[in-house]
């Protein structure tokens, strides 16, 4: 049982998670932002590690990733920064990024490093489920790292069941198949899809991400799931003046 599992067990109110890119806007802003997110009352966070070719991301996260790389961020530096993580942050922390940097770092190494710094879960959207199951699962389980899978309205019921069986943490629902930074799709189909998932009575809790940008979309997500994840809207906000001091303001605008 890691911090993430405990959070989902104990907290009953809608959960809010915040995504940001490590090394953006400055190489060393990672932990300051993480600490501010916790202080502002978010329930957990996802720290993105940048990749040169983020093909599931829209312009905002493409830009933060590129800037982070220019600032010199990479996994080795990130894990060095995260050595201080658990001195400053107590809520669950996930890492999110693409598979190639993880493969080059070594998947086992990566999981060991996550555990060593107190990371609770990982989201690697382009790590295929079959490869995870066949080659890598044990590294995650041995380190109590939750591997989080995505589900879209086009994901078949059979596949969702399989994902549910392989998951330990939560399942990440997309309101529609999209890159990051689009607005939450509010439609009858989306409602039907969220209801369908709810009625499947999955073992794992669900959260909605991609396109959550304000109180309205957050509330919509919380109607159907345990809560929502805000990414692009937050990364965009980080670009505004005095953003670090104003993080509580941002969190309040999503979940007062």
């Amino acid at each position: 049982m890691n911090r993430l599992n405990e959070l989902f067990q104990h907290k009953k109110e809608p959960l809010l998670s915040i995504y940001f890119t490590a090394g953006y806007p400055d190489l060393n802003s990672t932990l300051d932002i993480a600490e501010a997110i916790e202080k502002a009352g978010a329930d957990f966070m996802e720290i993105g590690f940048p990749y040169s070719d983020p093909l599931a991301d829209g312009p905002v996260i493409q830009n933060s990733s590129q800037k982070a790389l220019q600032n010199g961020m990479n996994l080795t530096i990130l894990f060095k920064q995260l050595k201080e993580l658990r001195k400053r942050v107590s809520i669950p922390v996930l890492l999110m990024g693409y598979v190639n940097p993880v493969l080059q770092y070594g998947v086992k190494n990566f999981c060991d490093s996550c555990a060593a710094v107190g990371v609770d879960g990982v989201i690697v959207p382009d790590l295929p489920m079959v490869e995870y199951e066949e080659f890598y699962k044990d590294y995650f389980i041995d380190n109590a790292i939750s591997n989080i899978f995505l589900v879209t309205p086009q994901t078949s019921e059979e596949r969702i069941r399989k994902i549910d069986n392989l998951s330990n943490g939560f399942i990440y629902l997309l309101s529609s198949s999209s890159t990051t930074g689009k607005n939450l799709t509010v439609s009858n189909e989306a409602d039907a899809y969220f209801s369908r998932i709810r009625e499947m009575n999955l073992k794992n809790p669900t959260m909605i991400g991609f396109g959550i940008s304000d109180q309205k979309s957050f509330n919509k997500a919380a109607e159907y799931t345990r809560g929502a994840i805000v990414g692009s809207a937050f990364v965009k906000f980080l670009d505004t003046e005095n953003a670090l001091q104003r993080i509580p303001e941002f969190i309040n605008s999503i979940r007062p």
Binding site: Y51, S52, D53, P54, L55, A56, D57, G58, Q62, Q66, L69, N74, L75, T76, V99, N100, P101, V102, L103, Q104, Y105, P125, D126, L127, P128, V130, E131, F149, L150, V151, T152, Q154, T155, S156, R159, L174, S177, S178, T179, K182
Partner: protein, 402 residues
Amino acid sequence: MNREFISSSVKWGVNPKGYFGDFGGAYIPEMLYPNVEQLRQQYLNIIYEPDFQEEFHNLLKDYVGRPSPLFHAERLSARYGTTIYLKREDLNHTGAHKINNTVGQILLAERLGKKRIIAETGAGQHGVATATVCALKGLECIIYMGEIDIERQAPNVARMKMMGAKVVPAVSGSKTLKDATNEAMRDWINNPIDTHYIIGSVVGPHPYPDMVARFQSIISEETKKQLFEKTGSENPDIVMACVGGGSNAMGMFYHFLDDQDVRLIAVEAAGLGVNSGESAATTLLGREGVLHGSRSILMQSDDGQVIEPYSISAGLDYPGIGPQHAHLFKQDRAEYVSITDDEAMQAGRLCSELEGIIPAIETAHALAQLEKMIFTGKESVVICLSGRGDKDLDTYMNYFNL
């Protein structure tokens, strides 16, 4: 058609899990999974249906103009002191091998009920070939092309527009082929229902590398017959082709893979030189990793960031190679060599002057390799003349001050 003949090599082809040895697979986010999985389940059934095969071969014959000639290039042969044949993919409709694949994929897209076609392009040849088949079938066509390539391949941009395609500039990263591919994949993520992505080379998640290789395998299928008619033997001693992602090379190698005594030579772009930092010589400079949905060999930094490649030729300006090539490279079935910008440009001019054939700069890389080889005089060599140089005239004119 005899299914045995067209099926993939057991040793060198794709396995049931979608891998060529250590390479391949489908490293894609969930948003792409339903479309890629549908393709995986259906591509072989669809493309080997008699009605598909009939339409495919009729279009290749009457629309593309196949079979493309196998030409005995006498003056090039005399110059290098051996027997050289050129497989004339430049004579295909639209001027390159790329159309073999787009004809196949458009028929597949139709049978999958897709209404909207997207593609990436580097040199513009694949974009033109895609726009062409979309016009033929009356389907909406969106082409992603790096901003830099839009400039250096202007005639092809105009051709795509003439045929009603929308050309969208890719402005991220190096603004070339890799970035155009990212944009096409993002489009597909955002349009999961009605869209088919026609990938232009033997890259991408399984089943693309295998599927594109099958469509391009017509190149070696014809070559065997034509060579037999000319020489009484199906097999040459050496087969050569240039490699960007690797589709013309894979098509040219395909039916020779199991003929162990046929030497296969794949020519990559060295750009300004393999040690110059401005290169696209993937096998020399790359390591194993994942790019655009498959495990292969790619140019990358120690921490797994893709290195922006460089070549004078837009079609070879790509930091990876298809997974089947990675397999042939690792297992030493094919030799991977590289040619600089200057060597390619000279070879392009030489072929023009000696044979009256102006090759694409991509193709000129394969021709340039002849300069580096030592022949006894008894070899027969087949080179895939993957495309014509019309699109490159600006680059040739600037380079040679014509």
